[in-house]
């Protein structure tokens, strides 16, 4: 009961507009006369080459890049839309369910070009939201501590491993805290739709005292150092950039979620024309290649990934994602989640 109450409290915190949370970091590119504000959930370091190149090609712009947490960015964008503060010129977020919510609430500006029309239907909605990247949700592991047959290739293998050696993994499994991370919630929600493994996964995680923590960098760092053996549902792009040899990546063979980061031009953006240009640029082969280098565009068809096309689960940009933000549904998922974790912490 306590657990449920606290989960509900968490829910309300995230649903009610929090006092405007500030950005985590800011960077500037270019020195033109026209300011251009991009808010993103992506780490500055990852996107830096692409944005710098864009600023280079558009010398009249000064691009201000603000890095936000996904929930804070959502709250800020929603308040802007309702007539709050200064509207960003573009928003780029991995928590696409929140982007879908914003588009559904008429907080976006439409844009249309041959490049956007060429995107598959799962990667655009209403010509107001576009999926610019392709990033798998992966299992990462420490290559020093786990090797060969011990590496779980699928969720079933992971479940089996946790069941077989609970003590070995106790406190050494990490995943996102779904109450804090919009992206983590999205992955958990997508997992819950796959139903069959999600329940047993939660249970197994609870049993071994899995750690729910906030940030990709923290999780991957922990895996690299060996504090965690395995991290579940980590966005592959972060692994590609942040990790060294100690971190191995697995595209789960049963199914692998594939996320396309959502790009949106907020309603009332002052430089919507430049926002369109940035979108165009992001979709060019040049930018896509740079994003691929940064790990944001995974070549899912490459033979070395060894992933069958049938195991690919794209998270489509459709209004069905609104369910992920429904407060009853969210409360239910959070309750389930925290129940599992809290119960585990009670000896």
């Amino acid at each position: 009961m306590i657990a449920r109450l606290s989960a509900l409290a968490l829910t309300f915190l995230s649903v009610l507009p929090a006092p405007l949370a500030a950005q985590e970091a800011t960077a500037r590119y270019g020195s033109g006369d026209t300011p251009f504000l991009l808010r993103s959930t992506t780490d500055i370091a990852i996107l830096e080459p692409v944005i710098a190149r864009f600023a280079e090609r558009n010398p009249e712009l000064t691009v201000t890049y603000e890095q936000w947490g996904s929930n804070a960015l959502f709250d800020r964008s929603r308040d802007d839309c309702r007539g709050g503060g200064a509207v960003a010129d573009a928003v780029f977020s991995s928590a696409v369910q929140q982007m879908v919510w914003l588009v559904n609430a008429a907080c976006a500006t439409a844009y249309r070009s041959p490049a956007t029309e060429a995107l598959p239907e799962t990667r655009r909605w209403r010509d107001e939201l576009w999926g610019v990247t392709m990033e798998p949700a992966v299992i990462v592991y420490n290559t020093r501590l786990l090797a060969g047959d011990e590496v779980p290739r699928s969720r079933f293998a992971l479940l089996d491993a946790l069941r077989a050696e609970p003590d070995r993994y106790r406190g050494r499994i990490a995943t996102y805290d779904i109450a804090e991370s919009g992206l983590g919630f999205l992955f958990a929600y997508a997992d819950s739709l796959e139903a069959t493994t999600f329940g047993s996964m939660l249970e197994a995680f609870a049993r071994v005292g899995a750690v729910a923590t906030c940030c990709s960098a923290e999780i991957i760092g922990g895996v690299a150092e060996g504090r965690y053996l395995i991290a579940y549902n980590v966005l592959g792009s972060y692994v590609a950039t942040a990790a060294g040899d100690e971190v191995g990546t697995i595209l789960p063979e049963d199914y692998t979620l594939v996320l396309s980061r959502g790009y949106m031009i907020p309603k009332g953006a002052d430089r919507a024309e430049a926002s369109g240009r940035l979108l165009e640029f992001l979709l060019t082969p040049e930018a896509q290649a740079m994003l691929a280098t940064a790990g944001l565009v995974a070549d899912m068809a490459a033979p070395e990934t060894g992933l069958a096309p049938s195991a690919r689960r794209s998270i489509p940009l459709t209004p069905a994602l609104l369910v992920a933000l429904d407060r009853n549904r969210r409360a239910q998922l959070l309750t389930r989640w925290s129940d599992a974790f809290r119960r585990a912490q009670v000896p």
């Binding site: 559904n104 209403r126 209004p319 369910v323």
Partner: protein
């Protein structure tokens, strides 16, 4: 006539214009109906989707800890995503309008007053865009919760509009194509139908202005045949008039030359005669010749008059008996042939023909004059109706002229050498002209009493018969 196909407003362009107007009018009507149908179809199908989604959500409501709780089904949203580009609204309200769950509590939709329970549809604005909503109520009667829970689901109208447009285009494109084809066919048919007219106008345009021969009517449509037929008749009459005029001039010249020459000879003779008695004789002959010439001129004039009148005057009902009676009562025949003993045979009933009284009178006068001049007394003039024919005849007791003369009588002026100087031959041609003009004929033949000349005309329909 050749202006029929002139550029400003040809017959073809008129008819094609009318066809185009009809097609366009039909097109507009059909388009309206298709649009309405398409809209109905789109509304129905997407209303069903809305209702299906609302039912899904209503099904997913359960009571948990004394309050309604919605385990929002993804299937409902996948259903709504059938309209892929439309915004979505959903809200679940408990008793007293308390929000159970919903998309955005801060952006409420103007929901009309709950009227009838069950399912109701309404239209309202969703984030400034028109949208359609469905609302349905599920009632709970549980131990710890009872009351209505209201589900409202809405969707903007893009997909509906797209579907309407698509249905309309699907129906309209073939229709437009059919319209074009019909237009083409109409143009072809019209061309075909107007071809005879074109040929006719070309024929007319190329025709020599003096050419009055009939135009060919074979192969012409019936309407054109009427037109060309009356034109041909008109041209025929014109041709007839011309011919008559030519004949009159030629004949008159021919007829006048001989008597004038004779008069000159007589006059010269009279002047050359020194002797008083011989001079008197010559003067007498001169006088006779001059009289004869005067009569000839009268007859020529009368002939010309008859021809002119029969061609140009309207026909009226004439009683042949009156014509005969009038001639009979004149004194001319008495002076012409005294003591001939003229008789008249007419019946009680009128014998009516459609003709010109003057022309008939001239004809009768000439027939009588011929009989008096060449026949033997007694001379009888009579009128008889024989069924559909009306006859005016003149009979004398003589054997009639020789057969070769009879054969020639049908021709124009016949002035045989054997006939006396008072005979002109022009008289009979007047009779023939009158007979032809009124659709009749002249019969000559022997009877048991002698020789009879008959003017045989079609009888006018009598009052009783009609």
């Amino acid at each position: 006539m050749a202006d029929l196909l002139a550029p400003p407003r040809s017959l073809a362009s008129r008819v094609l214009g009318a066809v185009l107007v009809i097609l366009l009018l039909g097109g507009v009507l059909v388009t309206g109906s298709i649009w309405w149908n398409g809209q109905q179809a789109a509304r129905q199908s997407y209303d069903r989707i809305l209702l299906g989604a609302a039912r899904d959500i209503a099904e997913a409501i359960r009571v948990q800890d004394g309050a309604p709780f919605v385990d929002l089904p993804v299937s409902a949203f996948q259903l709504l995503a059938q309209a892929p580009d439309d915004r979505i609204y959903y809200a679940v309200h408990g008793p007293g309008g308390k929000l159970v769950t919903g998309l955005d509590a801060r952006a409420p939709v103007a929901v009309p007053e709950a009227g009838e329970p069950g399912v109701s549809y309404f239209e309202a604005s969703l984030h400034g865009e028109p949208a359609r909503f469905v609302r349905l109520t599920r009632r709970f009667v549980e131990r710890d919760f009872s009351g209505p829970v209201e589900v409202t689901v809405g969707q903007t109208l893009r997909a509906r509009k797209a579907m309407t447009t698509e249905l309309m285009l699907d129906a309209l494109l073939p229709m437009a194509l059919a319209g074009l084809v019909l237009m083409g066919i109409a143009a072809l048919v019209l061309r075909r139908a107007l071809r005879p007219l074109e040929a006719l106008s070309e024929d007319l345009a190329e025709r020599d202005p003096h050419d009055l021969t009939p135009m060919p009517v074979a192969g012409l449509p019936s309407e054109l045949q009427v037109m060309v037929g009356s034109m041909n008749r008109f041209m025929g009459r014109l041709e007839g008039q011309f011919a008559a005029m030519r004949n009159l001039i030629a004949d008159s010249a021919h007829q006048l030359r001989t008597p004038v020459a004779a008069i000159r000879v007589q006059a010269e003779t009279a002047r050359a005669e020194g002797d008083g008695a011989a001079r008197m004789r010559a003067l007498d002959r001169l006088l006779t010749r001059t009289r004869s010439l005067g009569r000839l001129l009268d007859q020529l004039l009368s002939h010309a008059l008859v021809v002119h009148r029969t061609d140009s005057l309207p026909r009226v009902a004439v009683d042949l008996r009156e014509v005969a009676l009038e001639i009979f009562e004149e004194d001319d025949h008495a002076t012409l042939s005294p003591g001939a003993g003229l008789r008249l045979e007419i019946g009680e009933d009128p014998v009516m023909v459609m003709a010109d009284a003057f022309s008939l009178g001239e004809a009768a006068r000439n027939m009588l004059a011929n009989a008096l001049a060449h026949g033997q007394a007694p001379v009888t003039m009579g009128v008889a109706g024989r069924g559909a024919r009306a006859q005016l005849w003149v009979e004398d007791a003589g054997p009639g002229p020789a057969p070769e003369v009879v054969a020639k009588l049908g021709a124009r002026f016949n002035r045989s050498s054997g006939s006396g100087e008072r005979s002109t031959g022009i008289g009979f041609s007047i009779v023939t002209a009158v007979a032809e003009a009124f659709g009749g004929r002249v019969d000559l033949g022997q009877t048991d009493r002698g020789f009879r000349a008959t003017l045989d005309l079609p009888a006018a329909p009598t009052e009783e018969a009609s």
